[in-house]
Symmetry: C2
Subunit: 350 residues, 2 copies
Amino acid sequence: MAAAAAEGQEVPNKRVILKRYVTGHLTEDDMEVVTGAARLAVPPGSAAVVLKNLYVSCDPYMRGRMTKHETPSYVPDFVPGEVLVNFGVSKVVASGHPDFKVGDLVWGITGWEEYTLIPNPESLFKINHPELPLSYYTGVLGMTGLAAWAGFFDVGKPKKGDYVFVSAASGAVGQIVGQLAKLKGCYVVGSAGSDEKVNLLKTKFGFDDAFNYKEAQDLNAALKRCFPEGIDIYFENVGGPTLDAVLLNMRSHGRIPACGMISQYNREQPEGMRNLSSVVAKRLRIEGFMVSDYIGEYRRFEEEMVGYLKEGKVSYVEDVAEGLEKAPAALIGLYSGRNVGKQVVAVARE
Amino acid sequence: MAAAAAEGQEVPNKRVILKRYVTGHLTEDDMEVVTGAARLAVPPGSAAVVLKNLYVSCDPYMRGRMTKHETPSYVPDFVPGEVLVNFGVSKVVASGHPDFKVGDLVWGITGWEEYTLIPNPESLFKINHPELPLSYYTGVLGMTGLAAWAGFFDVGKPKKGDYVFVSAASGAVGQIVGQLAKLKGCYVVGSAGSDEKVNLLKTKFGFDDAFNYKEAQDLNAALKRCFPEGIDIYFENVGGPTLDAVLLNMRSHGRIPACGMISQYNREQPEGMRNLSSVVAKRLRIEGFMVSDYIGEYRRFEEEMVGYLKEGKVSYVEDVAEGLEKAPAALIGLYSGRNVGKQVVAVARE
């Protein structure tokens, strides 16, 4: 059992690598699960740590890193033959760094593999609340939660009574945004891609209303029905026809924090948006943001969100795939909405 | 000669009316120049004024008011059979209002006609600097100038050294934005629709570079050539393919103050925008604004701009059509870029 591996030992290391640059739809053939070896020791004199990975996060933006960019994107492209990396929750199993000791629980950027050597561990966060499920640090207490919180409050600038629409609303970010909006005193409607998810929004997450966008014949009509007064804040996760219909239904001075546009990530040719002139006519603000710009706020966010979770004010649903073998399919499932809630991969149970 | 008409007299009143609601391209047949009558007196006991109109402004947004809207737009639709209204410069020829006396020069909303009765003259501005050309109050010293100033500074949030791109750059708003950006210490490039206009940008208005978008085979390539480092601020006047190409060339945290999207106003089906996902990837802010929200800043703006004009720091080019008979063609010319500089109609020389 890997958990019992001693420091210094060489152990097998299962890993998910990118096989080739991807164009169009991501498929399982684009990734490969291979087994290498890891040494549970840091190079002599280095300040590195070796992590045993417990959970890794599946996030839509990873698709972009699998395309070869002519001009550099905001995150480096993955490299064929190399392990995928993303946020995860891990335990320190070897350390050359004075701030980290063996046994510490941390979260941060790690590999889609069993063990990862982190040369510069300063970017890892210690886990302050191990009394909550550790996997939460890939989501509601990690970058996902911070993205929801920063995007909604800092970019969305909500006021009590605002009409708020959230797409991909049962997803990792959407479910948190919707609940924060309710806590703020907003009227909140979400869209999702199945009746099961719509039900989750109305019951578990307390949305005022929700609809299944896959069954809406006319998104504009669905939005008009849900928002006869119009929308003040649209928290954008999907892009494409949803955004285009939303533009027709925004109120004056409405805000659109843009967190992601998942509907477009697998398309070679993005869909055309025809209603941009609403931006002028209604003085809208569409603003993209990245959670990495809010890292400095993390501790403040963490304490606030831990409070909500412990008081039962925020519920959280995750969809956990067991084992790295399931990781490629779990990632691919995001783009068709197969997951219900935040998609996580359990690499090892602690 | 109308200028000599005495108070109380009834005089002929030439007017431009909307003949019918417009769909698609605006044509001269959609408007009509008719002659009615005006009495140069205010109703007994009223606080109205009667204006003799000197100049009226042709502005792209007027096209939107000629379409019948199912749901009300941000400005009321024009009504077939009624006179067009917009900002203009006028002289008071009759007054029932204590703040206005006969002979006062004012600017504000008036009719496309020789004489207009204004029931609530409180919204009119007195002209503080008649030593400058009066027509300037339809443009660089009126709503156009205020739009350029507010949109560039308040929405665009420029910093010294920013890379600034302006479309419709020799137009009413664009020429002012470009010059304000140069005064702020930015690198400024403009696009316009003829070599004559491009020349004007580089010589008269001091843009660092300019190109003719009608001759650019590939807007993306033209922008890459002008902005190898990318664009920090795009002042949006045109929408459509220009905006789509700009999105590919924005830098991180770039800002797009959206003042208008003239390329789309005559289209029944707007063109599709495919590069919106740059908003997320580059944390862009696209923000529509309306000059009417900045009316409270007008006096501060006016003094600043009068200073620039008198010191020769801002040049201003207008295209003056003589007489109301020419007004319909002048308005239509905006949408094909026939005008060079701000399009004004001289209704009467003072």
